[in-house]
Subunit: 126 residues, 2 copies
């Protein structure tokens, strides 16, 4: 059984992205990874996809969500963003304050890929 005190996201090797893994493989989970992240103003994820559902639970800031084949959409605190399995997507901070969210994935670990299929070597565990 694992009951963990949440840790605050800390700077990662990806510029402008702070990260903390709240739960995942290290806790014996096989189907879930939970990340707490902060994107600084101006920061963005690369365009990427993964073979699992993802849900973002946004708690602060203003983000823009880009999903292949759709118009960009803005989201903010107290919203939930559902990202279909294998859909190419990108998340950016669209505001002047840190964008804060919990990202939930339907697999552990998470194996993101760039648009050309190149695996992304994540700088954190999942």
């Amino acid at each position: 059984m694992h009951i963990l005190m949440n840790v605050d996201p800390t700077p990662s090797a990806i510029p402008g992205i702070r990260h903390a893994t709240l739960a995942g493989s290290a806790q014996g989970l096989q189907q879930l990874s939970i990340w707490s992240q902060v994107l600084e103003p101006g920061a963005a994820t690369p365009p990427h996809r993964h073979d699992c559902d993802e849900v973002l639970l946004c708690s602060g800031g203003r983000g823009v969500f880009r999903l292949e084949g759709h118009k960009p959409r803005v989201f903010g605190a107290n919203t939930t963003v559902c990202i279909p399995r294998n859909a190419l997507h990108e998340i950016a901070n669209a505001g002047e304050v840190p964008l804060r969210f919990v990202a939930v994935f339907g697999s552990a670990p998470v194996a993101p890929q760039l648009p050309d299929g190149t695996p992304i070597d994540l700088p954190w565990s999942s």
Copy 2:
């Protein structure tokens, strides 16, 4: 694409449990269900299990988590509780104020069972 304003949990058919489904089958998810719940003081889930991982993200109050074969453990705000797939478990409010958490499941929908294997007919969608 689904970007949803979170709704506050509202009273359910289970006494003392307020519930809101933040994301799940209705948004086309196949691997994730996300619930926002509040257990009033004195309220508890029945003992149950489900064939998927679960993670609780607690944001307020004081809960007690009972997992088959383990001593009860207390948890509170800013903690993450990892519940192994198929493990018999129970969550109760152990304090004087509402216990608030987001429950994340590694399947959509979620199919909980009582200890004897009887399916629990949930009073909400997942």
